[in-house]
């Protein structure tokens, strides 16, 4: 009995020896890059997104992958000068309360420094005030509403990719210029749909077009037949779809079934390449839409997108590209600021222009809006598409100053100062 105990003790001591050495070595390694002061020894990034619902295609696991790639690339660039970075992810199920709950837990308990993606406006608006209260950073890539940099803006938030204003202006203006001067709106009957309709109407009228009328459908809707027939009867050249997600997809499918397209053309006011991919070119051909990123735009975008495609088997949407670019920009700012304290990092993020495949010389404005170029795109006909994901003609590059809501027009108090 005694021998057994002795043996156990000795072997335990022997076994712990290498562990102790390893620990000491690690301590040494940890001590070296003292340049960056971090609150809990590492930078923690949270990607809060829709991993299972309607928006999981345009953000979801692709956004998580994009963030992972950004972290890996940053560590590869910096080599041993990099600090420890951890990525956490969660599904917010597109519910504001789930998102705010999770964000609070991440901030209070897990010391998360930055939350990214935040697809759907309700989740973004729910997390932003929590982050502000706890002095952490949010980078919105997935959500679209203008209040994010308008009346709900905070000084610790960046709205990185797109908003409804940019899309409405891009598509509205361009379509009128191309001869689509009479419009009819199919609008989702809630605040978001109304705002989209209002913004686009202003642009259409300002460019010499006419709005013949609009019809409001319940949100969420499945049967659009009576609304589409109204739109058809109006005789408008363009039917503007002031809705999103499944509503837009259903409306487009049903418009094709009713033979409304291609006699009248549709203009999607909030659409992504993932929507085109799932609807197919046959139903969507000829449609105009605006996006903040297209994978097949130049060599740089193609190079990054190919890397992304290899891992994800789908081309990146503008949201996913934005998550990569913004995460990398954030990490560089942490490095430059020498701390992960939110205000200092945000200052660096705003000082340094973003210069990568996603945006060229783009700066973050005081209200948090990243001012960058947009692209007016037209969906190709099936016979024009040469390879998978070859979906768009780039009709026009919309210059940043034309695409982004001018500072004087926003309601954000941070810009008024």
């Amino acid at each position: 009995m005694k021998h057994k105990l002795m043996f156990a003790l000795v072997s335990a001591a022997l076994m712990s020896l290498p562990a102790g050495v390893a620990l000491a070595q690690q301590k040494k390694a940890d001590a070296k890059p003292a340049a960056v002061k971090l609150s809990d020894g590492m930078v923690k990034i949270g990607i809060l997104t829709d991993l299972s619902g309607t928006y999981s295609d345009l953000a979801g696991s692709g956004s998580v992958l994009a963030a992972k790639m950004a972290i890996e690339d940053f560590q590869a660039q910096e080599k041993d000068r990099a600090f420890k970075i951890e990525l956490v992810t969660a599904d917010h199920q597109n519910k504001g309360d789930v998102a705010s709950n999770r964000a609070r837990e991440w901030f209070e308990r897990d010391q998360v420094d930055m939350i990214g993606d935040l697809v759907t406006t309700s989740t973004a608006l729910a997390v932003m005030p929590v982050a502000k209260q706890m002095n952490r950073i949010t980078i919105v890539s997935g959500a679209a509403s203008t209040p994010i940099t308008g009346k709900n803006c905070t000084d610790l938030n960046v709205h990185y990719v797109y908003d409804t204003y940019a899309l409405a202006v891009g598509t509205g203006k361009a379509v009128v210029k191309q001869g689509g001067d009479t419009w009819f709106f199919l609008t989702a009957d809630y605040a978001f749909g109304h705002a989209l309709e209002k913004d686009t109407t202003e642009v259409v009228i300002a460019n010499g077009g006419k709005v013949l009328g609009s019809v409001r459908h319940p949100f969420p809707g499945t049967d659009f037949s009576s609304f589409l027939l109204k739109a058809q009867a109006s005789g408008a050249k363009v039917i503007g779809l002031a809705n999103a997600g499944a509503d837009t997809q259903n409306a487009i499918k049903q418009a094709a079934e009713f033979g409304i397209t291609p006699k009248q053309s549709l203009a999607g006011l909030l659409m992504f390449i993932s929507d085109i991919h799932s609807l197919g070119l046959k139903a969507t051909q000829g449609m105009y839409l605006t996006e903040g990123f297209y994978w097949d735009f130049n060599d740089e975008t193609r190079a990054w997108s190919k890397r992304f495609f290899e891992k994800h088997k789908r081309m990146p949407t503008m949201v996913q590209a934005g998550v990569y670019s913004s995460t990398l920009h954030y990490l560089k700012a942490v490095k430059a600021a020498g701390t992960d304290e939110a205000k200092a990092v945000m200052k660096k993020m705003k000082e340094t222009p973003v210069n990568d495949f996603f945006a060229k010389n783009a700066k973050i404005r005081d209200d948090g809006r990243l001012v960058h170029d947009f692209y007016l795109l037209q969906v190709k006909k099936p016979q024009e598409s040469k390879s998978p994901w070859d979906y768009y003609h780039v009709r026009q590059v919309i210059k940043a100053e034309d695409a982004v809501m001018p500072g004087a027009k926003t309601e954000c108090p941070l810009l008024k100062m």
Binding site: L51, S52, G53, T89, A90, D91, Q93, K95, G96, D97, V98, S100, N101, R102, R104, E105, E108, R109, T121, S122, L125, A126, M128, P129, V130, S145, P147, N152, D189, Y190, A191, F192, P218, F219
Partner: protein, 326 residues
């Protein structure tokens, strides 16, 4: 000491000690809010025998009113909570006076229809923020002295609110009024023949239940600083039915247990399985209905009875009635 008193003491000890056991306080607060909601619902389903399928209406309405009162009108939290609760009570009176004219499935359908109407009102109204909801509701200072931005303070306030609501329900059940409610549940025509104005009793039970559901919704708004459409959606009405049935309908402590089980599941599973949470919940519901119809607490109580008392010739239900009288 009766078993109920023992249950109360255990509950209070658990509530007071919980935040010191390294359990995340916001999660606990969510649990207490839903526990109160489920208890209020149980008053109607378990003790009056009325299945309302629109209780989210009261929960959601109170959370919007409280959110608006705190955020836009800048009222102190105690007044904001009161405003939401009173609004839910008034709403309960309106819904109740319509719904109790019918019984059974028609009653459930009327409550569901009214709740859905209200849901679309919240979707359309400007002040609720529609799809986006109402965010950044300030927590403020309770009675001007208790700083609710501190999580520990807030926790004990929420727990106190829960205890208050819980005690109200307990008193209601064990009053002569509660006895009449139970007699309505057991045999409505007989209660009428005994001379009770059944409609009035049902309405009052409905209003109390709605008011306390409102209190739960209002408290939740203060905790999460957010009111959203989720609170008013019919999914929420379904969830509270599930909590009550799982914990044990018609038992005092059942809904509390049910609420915590569901909230824990949602919290733990959300990251791992995403929307499959809904499927898992449905599965649990099926198992609960098929295998243990009395719910967790109901089954435990039955087990204890079998072990120690073994009532001869009493069915489980009669035993329940006897037990709640005790």
């Amino acid at each position: 000491m009766s078993r109920t008193a023992l249950g109360f003491i255990l509950l209070i000890i658990a509530g007071v000690v919980a935040p010191w056991l390294n359990i995340y306080p916001t999660f606990l607060m969510k649990g207490w809010c839903f526990a109160l909601f489920a208890c209020a619902f149980n008053l109607l389903l378990g003790y009056t025998g009325l299945l309302s399928f629109g209780h989210a209406a009261f929960f959601g309405a109170a959370s919007y009113i409280t959110g608006h009162a705190l955020k836009v009108w800048g009222l102190p939290p105690e007044i904001g909570l009161l405003a939401g609760t009173v609004f839910a009570g008034v709403l309960g009176y309106l819904f109740g006076s319509l719904a109790i004219r019918r019984a059974g499935i028609y009653f459930a359908m009327i409550t569901l229809a009214l709740a859905q109407m209200l849901y679309f009102v919240w979707l359309q109204m400007k002040f609720t923020g529609g799809e986006d909801g109402l965010q950044g509701v300030p927590r403020g200072m309770m009675f001007g002295v208790i700083d609710l931005t501190n999580n520990v303070n807030l926790y004990y306030v929420v727990f106190a609110i829960f205890l208050f609501g819980f005690f109200m329900i307990y008193r209601t059940i064990h009053s002569p009024f509660g006895q009449v409610l139970k007699s309505i549940r057991e045999n409505e025509p007989r209660s009428i023949s005994l001379g009770y104005d059944v409609a009035k009793y049902k309405l009052l039970a409905f209003v109390i239940s709605a008011t306390l559901s409102g209190l739960a919704g209002a408290t939740k708004t203060v905790v999460f600083q957010l009111a959203s459409l989720t609170d008013a959606h019919w999914h929420m009405s379904g969830e509270v039915v599930l909590m009550t049935l799982l914990g044990g309908m018609g038992t005092v402590f059942g809904p509390v247990v049910g609420a915590f089980v569901i909230v824990t599941l949602q919290n733990e599973l959300a990251d791992k399985v995403g929307s499959w949470v809904q499927v898992i919940m449905g599965f649990i519901f099926v198992i609960c209905v098929l295998a243990f119809r009395r719910g967790i607490v109901g089954e435990l109580m039955a087990l204890f009875r079998n072990l120690y008392q073994r009532p001869v010739g009493l069915s489980a239900r009669q035993a329940d009635v006897k037990d709640t009288k005790a």
